[in-house]
């Protein structure tokens, strides 16, 4: 058992729902008790979908436990087929139904419905939401996709976008346009917006563009093996990655590596002098593996930040994230425990957090600015406006999003120079944020409580800008402790500063 308050991922059947809800003409019959329908509201409320997810729940109750639940399941399948007339169905069990061992796959197949009924094996007590989505999509593709002739023109499939995906809707638009510019047609986008009939046509494409490894990699591997379609490894988030993606597509297809960068503004915005103050800003990055890896590259190469820590919650991506961390000389945090993430952030005291909804709240608590780069996200990150992460426009969106929570350059100077003034005192915070936001606590750590700050040193510390003051205090205390000093003078403060100087 593991005590948990916040979970980064839902159970695997929610992943299956993300695939089913993304598609049209597919229906999911889920063997589940009353209450599991709560997941519907993720789609109707957070993603604001205007229809119910295509999921039928058997809603078994305590009094059904016994022989009845299997019949309940068969009846639910039959009724769902007759009511919705889907092109294909997926059937499976939620965590509770997994325990009662009714075998939804076998029961579904035995009904003899005139459509494919695809059984799902989703181990609820070992795996999570992303696995559920990846595995469900793999099973759908395995069952329905068949080798076919390639299209006359160069075409590809966009693989991986699902319902409840972070910016999937707009990433599809952006990447479709980018590929069209190169003369590559999109054959099928799946699972987002695809029908089971579309899945049967996957083999027509010349290659697959894998947009999100978390939810599409297994299917891409299977198609590579079985349909002979190569797939792209670069995730086009960020300017450099988008260019690499274009090169990769060109190499796969023989097309010109053309990228229309007329509207690309990140490089100039980042080069303009207003952005100089961004240099070396200390950033901590957490989220799903894909978004963390791409954000790390953007942060270092395109924004000029210093990445002080990275991590991901999905252990499927642990290996690449560990390798990347090693490359850039930081420690990777692979954990789905938000308390560990909070401890790491508080320890590193970054100036900016790039993370999920949860890191947003950690940031709020610690008084550190944060921008959201990855699911899980709340309703505000399914925006009405066009806001991709991928491609050229994605890079523009990312620049704005990441810079926005930071204190602006000039403002930072003013805060520093006139910090005794009422308008620019430390507690005032960024001008464009609500007043009263908590700032980084620079109160002494309990650990360092035995080390005494001399008055003069304490006054000197107050001159350090508030957003790095906590870090300065901690570093100085650690430095003093290592030297065996019991008190901190101005001297100690500056020696510590020199010691930690980059």
């Amino acid at each position: 058992m593991k005590l948990s308050v916040w979970t980064y991922e839902g159970p695997p059947h929610v992943g299956a729902m993300r695939v089913a809800t993304a598609m049209n003409g597919l229906h999911y019959v889920l063997h589940a008790p009353q209450g599991d329908t709560y997941a519907d509201l993720l789609f109707t409320m957070i993603e604001r979908r205007n229809h119910r997810p295509p999921v039928t729940y058997t809603t078994f109750q305590a009094r059904d436990l016994g022989s009845d639940t299997a019949k309940l399941f068969r009846d639910a399948c039959q009724a769902a087929y007759e009511r919705f007339k889907p092109q294909a169905m997926i059937v499976g069990a939620s965590c509770t139904a997994e325990l009662i061992q009714d075998d939804p796959g076998g029961l579904g197949a035995a009904l003899g419905l005139p459509i494919p009924v695809i059984p799902l094996e989703l181990p609820s007590y070992q795996r999570k939401e992303n696995f559920g989505a990846d595995e469900t999509f793999l099973q759908i593709v395995r069952t329905l996709a068949k080798p076919t002739d390639r299209s006359a023109r160069v075409s590809c499939n966009l693989i991986g976008p699902t319902a409840l995906g972070f910016r999937h809707r707009d990433d599809i638009t952006e990447i479709t346009a980018l590929l069209n510019d190169m003369g590559v047609e999109v054959n099928v986008t799946a699972p987002y917006g695809a029908t089971p009939a579309d899945i049967t046509r996957l083999g027509t494409a010349h290659f697959n563009a894998l947009m999100y490894p978390e939810t599409g990699e297994s299917a891409c591997r299977w198609m590579e093996r079985t349909l002979g379609q190569p797939y792209t490894r670069t995730i086009p988030i960020g300017v450099g990655a988008t260019k690499d993606f274009v090169e990769e597509v060109a190499a796969l297809t023989g097309c010109e590596p053309r990228l229309d960068s007329d509207r690309l503004r990140l490089p100039w915005y980042s080069a303009s002098v207003d952005s100089t103050y961004l240099t070396g800003k200390r950033v901590f990055i957490f989220g799903d593996g894909t978004h963390v890896a791409t954000a790390t590259r953007i942060a270092r190469e395109e924004m000029g930040f210093e990445v002080v820590g990275i991590g991901c919650f999905n252990r499927e991506m642990a290996r690449p994230i560990r390798a990347l961390a090693k490359d850039i000389g930081v420690e990777a945090l692979i954990s789905d425990d938000y308390l560990e993430v909070e401890a790491r952030i508080s320890n590193l005291a970054p100036e900016l957090i790039l993370g999920t909804q949860m890191e947003r709240h950690i940031g709020k608590r610690l008084g550190i600015p944060c921008a959201v780069i990855s699911a899980p996200v709340h309703v505000q990150d399914f925006p009405a406006r066009y806001s991709p992460q991928m491609g050229v426009e994605g890079a523009n969106v990312i620049f704005d999003t990441w810079v926005h929570p930071l204190v602006m350059g000039l403002e930072e100077h003013l805060l520093h120079m006139f910090r005794e003034d009422p308008e620019f005192n430390d507690a005032a915070g960024p001008s464009h944020h609500a007043h009263g936001a908590k700032q980084v606590s620079d109160a002494p750590d309990p650990v360092g409580a035995q080390i005494i700050w001399l008055d003069e040193a304490e006054r000197e510390l107050r001159k350090v800008p508030f957003f790095v003051r906590g870090k300065a205090r901690r570093n100085t205390e650690a430095f003093a402790e290592a030297r065996g000093d019991s008190q901190i003078s101005v001297e100690t403060l500056y020696e510590a500063k020199a010691h930690y100087a980059r």
Partner: protein, 425 residues
């Protein structure tokens, strides 16, 4: 206007449509989200799966970031292998939790579907932990599983467990059963005090120090209609329930107060005299807020068991026409008085087959549909105005001062539709 008593039977004799099929409702675990706030010295530990944790997180929204006093001990593969192991695991997790949270005086072990299907004996665990932590911490258990409980029934199940653990007592007094927001609770205590009812005990009590006994001289009034199991166990322990409509709206509140007053030998005239200003205020507020509701047709889908008393309020005080009143469970001992006051009998349904029920909604095309969040946006997209029901559980809606707000909650979707000039596709 009809007064209570003129309609003797109302829709108590109306045949109930009982349905069985897909239920689009929350399970009882959801109750923890408001229960933990009403009992600030308590922690709710769900023993369940990742689904349970995800449900609590999704239903609690941003509340989850406020260091809530609830959590889920997520069962893992190894817990499913051997049962003795699971009991040790519970002890270990509880020890860890209690060492971190010194302020906890009551711990609730909450059963879920997985824990019940594998027959994990939480009663035994509670007993063992009680022996270990008594008298500092009281450990109780109840079920919030979806196979046993629907949404607000989780509170019922929790309160019933609390009643079972209460000492016996011959002391006379009134117990008010059902959780309420603080502000509403204070208003209620003030009203009872002013009509002359003293020594009121609250269930749930805010702190374990406010422990009280139950016995043959206990009278119980209910402020929430979903407390069937609590009702039964209180009656078994000798308590005397007060039959009354629920205190929604001016009429409901007045009738509720009068029923209690009569139990304690206080005259109806005295209640009228004490409550007159509040009644006038409430009537005026309801009249104002319910203006868009007058003559409109409403369809209530099953959710919280609040449906019957709310339907009574909507039809009698807001002038709405009831199309169908659905409830997950119809407990006639509790909502009988409300049923008796619903005049023109609508369809009454208990349980749910959501697809068939939606067919009835579409056929009837009501002016307002009261439903859960999984259905609200899809129905709006079909052009049907909805009021999402969960808000009715979280918002202060009881008694005189909230009567106008209660009508306002139903009126807002209709006012909004009247205001919006751009059509949604």
């Amino acid at each position: 206007m009809t007064t209570p008593g003129q309609i003797s039977k109302g829709c108590t004799q109306t045949p109930v449509l009982r349905e069985r099929g897909q239920h689009e409702v929350f399970c009882g675990l959801t109750s923890i989200i408001w229960l933990h706030r009403m009992m600030p010295d308590s922690f709710f530990l769900v023993v369940g799966s990742r689904t349970c944790a995800h449900l609590l997180q999704s239903a609690a929204g941003v509340m989850i970031f406020a260091e809530p006093r609830f959590g889920t001990a997520i069962l893992e593969e190894t817990d499913l292998a051997g049962m003795s192991d699971a009991q040790d695991e519970i002890d270990r997790e509880v020890d860890r939790l209690l060492s971190r949270r010194a302020d906890i005086r009551r711990l609730f072990l909450v059963g879920s579907c997985p824990s019940e299907v594998i027959k994990l004996d939480l009663a035994k665990a509670a007993e063992r932990l009680n022996a270990r932590y008594a008298p500092k911490i009281r450990v109780l258990n109840f079920t919030g599983s979806g196979i046993e409980t629907t949404f607000t029934q989780g509170e019922d199940s929790c309160l019933a467990a609390m009643v079972a653990a209460m000492p016996s007592s011959d002391t006379a007094g009134l117990v008010i059963a059902g959780g309420l927001p603080d502000v509403v609770q204070d208003q209620m205590l003030d009203l009872l005090d002013r009509i002359g009812v003293k020594d009121v005990r609250l269930l749930p009590n805010r702190s374990s120090d406010e422990e009280f006994g139950i016995g043959p001289n206990t009278h119980v009034a209910f402020v929430q209609p979903f407390l069937g199991e609590t009702y039964d166990i209180l009656v078994r322990r000798g308590a005397h329930p007060v039959s009354a409509p629920f205190p929604f709206g001016e009429q409901g509140t007045t009738a509720w107060l009068k029923a209690i007053a009569s139990r304690f030998g206080i005259s109806s005239d005295h209640v009228d005299a004490v409550t007159e200003p509040a009644r006038l205020r409430a009537r005026k507020a309801v009249a104002q807020a319910s203006e868009p509701l007058d003559g409109k047709r409403v369809f209530l889908l099953p959710d919280s068991q609040l449906e019957v008393p709310l339907a009574r309020f909507l039809s009698r005080e807001c002038g709405m026409e009831l199309v169908e009143v659905g409830t997950p469970y119809l407990h006639r001992d509790l909502v009988g008085c409300d049923l008796a006051q619903i005049a023109d009998c609508p369809t009454l349904s208990e349980g749910q087959d959501v697809e068939k029920q939606l067919d009835r909604v579409r056929a009837a095309r009501p002016d307002l549909t009261v439903c859960g969040l999984g259905l609200a946006n899809p129905l709006e997209a079909e052009g049907l105005a909805t009021k999402w029901a969960i808000e009715l559980v979280f918002s202060p809606i009881h008694f005189y001062e909230q009567a106008g707000d209660l009508a306002g909650l139903f009126a807002r979707p209709l006012r909004r539709r009247a205001m919006l000039q751009v059509a949604a596709e």
